[in-house]
């Protein structure tokens, strides 16, 4: 999610960040400031929030860091009970904020995945440490042994793969909701903090550090929003940043109260970074709005449009229609195939059972593979033990889900699926997972042999509570004792030494024959269970569904029409794309599925006699399968439309005059997809949003302009090689401040809605930057309307980027020759 720029862009959009170069240059050549000073400087606060330098870690981590500083300041305030009471109430929300960040962090990863990753991380760290402890040292006992740790890592890695697969299938929608809830809570908390700051209370006057830290915390949150993929992030970030600048403006009695300006190098980089990022944001929004207008008027109507560009726009238009079609179809049909409570319960059982089955089958298959080896060495014996242990775990876990744990006279925590277990006979429930391993005849035979062995051994009788220490009758039951020992035998416990049959059971547990029996028996049970827990649509559901599928709703096309639109999109995909990417993106299977549904839908729609029931049921089944979230139709379509657009973009890029237009189009397409996925709004309804965002972005720049006015003199002094008082730097420092830094800074001020007079006329009038034969002069843009000049710097850098790439290609081509 995070990029090195403040604003998030898709990875296929390259946006050079000159401020990043400035940061690196100034940090290394002039890095004389201590960390403590930096944390209080205006420049650093801007840098932290706008992230011009390449910060590592996630966006949420960055917010956490800001808030950790805030907490630390809070702890230093001794008189919490007095003037800071109200402020503390706000800051008291921090733990809650932490939980919200946790929630956002969890997006895309369930708790189970996190825990499994943690197990791996911890076990690896323990392993590394244990290896440093000498053998026999008492501290070794404080750690699990090496082989256990290694087994934990390997087992957890397997588990991780399984969880990731099931997570993707099961929890996508739930996580998205959490993410959106998290965003909303974060926004609300940040605004409460901002409202507290506006009061400019005695607490903040007394503790300016606390105030600064809260400002930084809010900026950190706004930085998080700005880097979030959803377009709404820009709105939230903008509002928060504007809050900060307004707060600063409302309390400007002494600018040094808030931000220390004397650290000039950081100030210049901070201002430069902010100008560049705000300018980029505004420029992109302005261009997007223009492009949206163009799209809504019909793609590329003017004559300047190249055939390739026209084709790209047409394809993207179809891509958008198909994305929209998928979205509407899912929503429209979703309500028509809602389940009754009973069906929903059945579905839940089915889904839980299938999840357990998948894990079991994966485990069984791993053991089967491993057991194929006929190696008889010691290490092979160790591996066989491992196989048996793995099989025991797999069969025990799965069997317990179906039958409950075998009746052994003790009550273990059971993780059975109650609905399935209760359908099993008493005998099956008593045998538990042993049902999966032995037929009834085999089980009865083993039962007899174990019973004889136990009865013949006073020690076993006592151990199983069949006999008291004095030789009397114990409270235990023989049948429980038999099953308990059979389970222990499969687990490889010591009992295998005492009962000959137990050893045989253990050793043949992973034999090919036994594995085949387990597979066959588990499949029989699986088939019977699925037959029982199958959701059958009721007649009225089918007829509702068919009507919804075929009929146009008010202002909405029918689902059949939507699918026909998707067919159109598939038809428009260029052949070279189909040939190169078709298989990877599963174009053909998807297309076939859609074709079959459309053909069936048309047949039903055009039927003049009674429609056979099988046809409507078939249609229902096919559509349900296509839209089943676990098949990811929606995501597949989004990926395909995005990939087609990117493909066409690459083809067109070399032929159009302004490559940025293409980049912007792709960016919009990308955002539409994301917003569709996050269900924030319907795709392609963004023109009004773009206008609002431009207004907001303009207001942000306006607010920043006031802030800029307070600090510009110190920054310009520095770029003119003099200190805050205007005294010239000594030669050693001066010669390290290149004149091009000031030129870049001046050009960046073109992003301001109103450029200060002295900057415009005195400091920057002659500024210009060059790359090869390209030149951008300040004077050329200074008098243009804001929406034209705001893009000047960005376009110049993009052109340089484009030329560099062209040059690189030429060099590469020569090298190849």
């Amino acid at each position: 999610m995070m990029t090195s720029n403040c604003l998030s862009l898709p990875t296929n959009v390259s946006l050079p960040t000159n401020a990043a170069y400035l940061v690196v240059f100034l940090s290394f050549s002039l890095g004389t400031t201590s960390f403590a000073n930096m944390s209080n400087s205006a420049g650093n606060i801007l840098l932290e929030s706008f992230r011009c330098d390449s910060m590592s870690g996630s966006a949420t981590q960055s917010v956490r860091t800001s808030l950790a500083n805030l907490r630390s300041s809070l702890e230093k305030i001794s008189d919490k009970e007095k003037e800071c009471q109200a402020e503390l109430a706000v800051i008291g929300q921090l733990p809650k904020l932490d939980a919200v960040l946790q929630q956002i962090d969890n997006y895309g990863a369930t708790e189970d995945i996190k825990k499994t990753e943690l197990i791996i991380e911890e076990a690896l760290a323990d392993l590394a440490y244990v290896k440093t402890i000498p053998q026999g040292h008492p501290n070794r006992a404080l750690f699990p042994d090496e082989s256990t740790l290694q087994a934990m890592v390997s087992s957890a890695r397997t588990e991780l793969i399984r969880l990731r697969v099931s997570n993707k299938v099961e929890s996508g929608a739930r996580d998205r909701k959490r993410y959106i809830d998290g965003i909303s809570q974060l926004d609300s908390l940040a605004n409460e903090m901002a409202a507290s700051l506006r009061k400019n209370s005695d607490c903040y006057k007394k503790h300016p550090v606390l105030r600064r830290q809260i400002v930084t915390g809010i900026l950190g949150i706004s930085g998080f929003f700005a880097s979030s993929p959803a377009g709404i992030g820009i709105t939230l970030a903008g509002r928060l940043i504007q809050n900060i600048f307004d707060i600063r403006d409302a309390n400007n009695d002494d600018k040094r109260v808030d931000f220390e300006a004397s650290n000039q190098s950081m100030l210049v980089t901070g201002l430069s970074c902010t100008l560049e990022q705000l300018g980029n944001q505004h420029c992109r929004l302005v261009r997007q709005e223009a492009l949206l207008q163009q799209l809504s008027a019909g793609p590329c109507k003017d004559d300047k449009c190249s055939p390739e560009m026209r084709r790209l726009l047409a394809i993207m238009e179809k891509g958008k229609s198909s994305s929209q079609a998928v979205d509407e179809m899912t929503r429209n049909l979703g309500s028509k195939i809602s389940y009754t409570e009973e069906q929903a319960r059945t579905l839940k059982v089915n889904s839980t059972f299938m999840s357990a089955t998948a894990a079991f089958e994966a485990g069984l298959s791993t053991v089967k593979e491993s057991a194929k080896s006929s190696d008889r060495s010691m290490s092979a014996e160790a591996r066989r033990r491992e196989d048996r242990a793995n099989l025991y775990t797999a069969v025990n876990t799965f069997g317990t889900k179906i039958f409950g744990y075998p009746a052994t006279g003790v009550s273990l925590g059971e993780a059975s699926i109650t609905e399935i277990r209760s359908g099993m006979s008493t005998a099956e429930q008593e045998k538990g997972f042993l049902n999966l391993i032995y037929s009834e005849a085999e089980y009865n035979d083993l039962y007899q042999k174990f019973a004889v062995a136990i009865n013949a051994s006073p020690r076993l009788k006592r151990a199983n509570d069949l006999q008291t220490e004095n030789g009397g009758t114990g409270a235990g039951k023989l049948e429980n004792a038999v099953r308990k020992n059979m389970v222990a035998a499969l687990a490889g416990e010591d009992i295998i030494k005492e009962i000959p049959e137990a050893l045989k059971m253990y050793e043949s547990f992973t034999s090919p024959e036994r594995l085949d029996i387990i597979k066959s028996r588990s499949e029989t049970y699986k088939s019977a269970i699925l037959q029982k827990f199958r959701v059958l649509p009721k007649d009225d559901q089918i007829s509702n569904f068919t009507m919804a599928f075929l009929t146009n709703d008010v202002g909405q096309s029918s689902s059949l029409k939507h699918l026909e639109n998707i067919q159109d999109f598939f038809d428009s995909i260029p052949d070279d794309f189909k040939n190169s990417r078709g298989r990877l993106l599963r174009l053909n299977p998807l297309r076939t599925q859609i074709d079959e549904i459309v053909a069936l839908g048309r047949e039903i729609d055009s039927a003049t006699t009674d429609i056979p029931e099988e046809k409507t049921k078939d249609l229902y089944a096919k559509v349900t399968r296509l839209l089943d979230h676990s098949h990811g139709f929606k995501e597949d379509m989004a990926r395909i439309t995005q990939a087609v657009a990117n493909h066409q973009n690459q083809k067109v890029a070399g032929t159009v005059a302004n490559k940025q237009d293409i980049h912007d189009l792709i960016y919009m397409q990308y955002n539409d997809f994301l917003e569709g996925v996050y269900e924030l709004k319907k795709p392609y309804e963004r023109q009004n949003d773009a206008k609002n965002a431009i207004a907001l972005s303009g207001a942000q720049i306006e607010a920043f302009s006031k802030f800029f006015g307070l600090y510009k003199d110190n920054a310009v002094n520095f770029l003119n090689r003099s200190d805050t008082e205007g005294r010239s730097f000594n030669k050693g420092l001066s010669e390290n401040i290149d004149s091009s830094l000031k030129d870049h800074f001046c050009i960046q001020t073109l992003a301001l809605t109103e450029i200060p007079k002295d900057i415009r006329e005195k400091q920057c009038g002659n500024a210009s930057i060059r790359y090869g034969s390209s030149e951008l002069s300040y004077a050329q843009f200074a008098d243009l309307p804001h929406k034209e000049r705001v893009c000047a710097y960005r376009n110049f850098l993009n052109n340089i980027d484009s030329k560099r790439n062209t040059l690189k290609k030429a060099v590469d081509a020569n090298v190849v020759k």
Binding site: I119, L142, A389, G413
Partner: protein, 128 residues
């Protein structure tokens, strides 16, 4: 934690408390827990689905629970150890062999760490 990772590790060991009257055990919903009362009613055996754990990780967990690392108590055996610490509400016990208890303090008469044993499954309650 799903059973596959940890159940295998745990199949041989359980945490046992002798004389467990009035002990109430709580546990995370993500962990399976088994409670076995012995025939004489004097011991409570708690086999909990949890992976083996080191002192390093336990001190980290303690810190996350707001407990100073120094407050983690250790009971050493020859090749394994038990760890426990107290939060305001519960007593948490871990072992290097796997197993984890979370004992509610509300209904605990008195928790005696010496009563705690790490034992092999299916064996009499004895210390290692």
């Amino acid at each position: 934690m799903a059973a596959t990772t940890s159940a295998r590790m745990l199949k041989h060991y359980e945490l046992v408390i002798k004389q467990p009257e009035n002990l109430a055990v709580t546990h995370s919903s993500t962990h399976q827990i088994g409670i076995i009362t012995s025939r004489k009613g004097k011991s409570l055996i708690l086999g909990v689905d949890y992976q083996p754990i080191s002192i390093r990780t336990v001190t980290k967990l303690a810190k996350e629970d707001g407990v100073d690392a120094k407050s983690v108590k250790i009971k050493r055996y020859k090749t394994s150890s038990l760890f426990y610490y107290e939060t305001p509400d519960v007593i948490k016990v871990y072992s290097t062999m796997g197993g984890h208890l979370s004992i509610s303090k509300k209904s605990t008469r008195a928790f005696d760490f010496n009563q705690l044993r790490l034992v092999q499954k299916n064996k009499k309650v004895v210390s290692l």
